[in-house]
Amino acid sequence: MLDIKRYQNPEVFEQLAIEYVVGALHGRARKRFEVLMATHFYLQATVEAYEHKFAHLVELLPDEKPSDQVWKNLEAHINVNAPSIKEEQRSWWHSLFNIKSYALLASVLILSAVMLFNPMTGSPVAYTAVLSSHTTHTTMAVTRISQADMNITIDMMKQPDIPDNMHLALWCHPKGGGKAVMMGMIAKSGETVIRIDKAEWKNFKNVGLLTVSLEPKDSIAGDQPSGKILLEGQLTSIHET
């Protein structure tokens, strides 16, 4: 049984965190610590702080040039995935009558209705959120997070007016309040796909609200949206029938 109180003692968890980071925590102790880290922010934060301190050790290493094939593979990967995040140039009526977006919106609404009248148990297989304008409450985007392909898909149904020096950022807000997590930049029109890893998928069970904020292009995201919130929507989980 996990003695969580023991891990809340800074003397204990700081030592475990530093042992974890240097690679001196092994076997079941390492796995136990990883389970706790996935649910306790203070453990994650302590580990991240030590990871950054020790990562300077990489400066001492001699250079080893990778083979040319590694870059070729990377180049192929980013080119293949480029269309999914590239802004599509569309006319205003096209963005208003985007059939695919409305089909996705319809499926989200149907799933939400099914959820409401026929609640299911077990682990979710996907999450959805309809993002509406923070001021006019007009539906602006549909978001789907799928375990099957480990992606967040954001489909912008209406193009918001944003200044040239700003971009849009997607944020996840915990159910109980606390620090938001920035998931990535999103295009102001068309579809954006953001890859997620297993830990991020697991964390979605603790997410209550998704927001899209306007962020200056010349600044890098912090722990909270720094600009105006344009869109927001509650996250709904979808379970296997």
């Binding site: 530093i18 042992e19 990489v58 400066e59 001699p62 080893e64 040039k65 990377l74 998931m183 890893d197």
Partner: protein
């Protein structure tokens, strides 16, 4: 001090492929070196390096300068990928194709010229490491760079398992106040 890799990461977040190429060219030799020491196999190391850079490209927008330098963020992303691979494959030193030089590259007797090339943060970390007993420092660095378990360190250094565990535990206990 300006962090040029942070600027490149910011451009990567905006899907600037030229910035990504420059970031890769400038940082991949050190990151491959880290992967090679952990995985002891060039093909595996390059596979992990590639996976690491895909994650760097996809997650560039989540990097926050407040948490540290861009290079340390990238090194952490790549090292965690390498550790996951190492654990999944359980690669044994006896099965590896590369023989490494131990910790010669991390010698505390670095020439002054070399020290000038190190960041202030790294020089601070080295000062902290120098305060440890040599055996403690060696075990900690071998764990970090090579991912050795306590048992592997015990075999490698020909010291009892309990002694190795104590060196690491006490070494890290002594290191913590210096790092904070």
């Amino acid at each position: 001090m300006e962090d040029k890799y942070a600027d490149l990461l910011q451009q990567c977040a905006m899907r600037d492929q030229m910035a990504f190429k420059q970031l890769y060219e400038e940082t991949s030799p050190k990151l491959l070196s880290l992967c090679l020491r952990l995985l002891q196999n060039k093909q595996l190391a390059e596979d992990v390096l590639q996976e690491g850079f895909i994650k760097i490209w996809e997650k560039a927008g989540t990097y926050a300068p407040s948490k540290g330098k861009a290079m340390t963020w990238m090194a952490t992303v790549v090292r965690n990928k390498a550790l996951d691979k190492l654990r999944s494959l359980k690669t044994k030193a006896s099965e590896t194709e590369i023989q490494y030089e131990g910790l010669e590259f991390a010698s505390a007797d670095l020439e002054p010229d070399s020290l000038e090339n190190l960041s202030q943060d790294m020089q601070g970390l080295m000062e902290c490491l120098k305060r440890l007993k040599p055996a403690q420092r060696e075990c900690i660095l071998l764990s970090y760079y090579y991912g050795h378990t306590h048992q592997e360190l015990s075999d490698k250094l020909d010291k009892p398992l309990g002694t190795v565990k104590a060196w690491i535990r006490r070494g890290l206990e002594d290191l913590r106040p210096c790092l904070t």
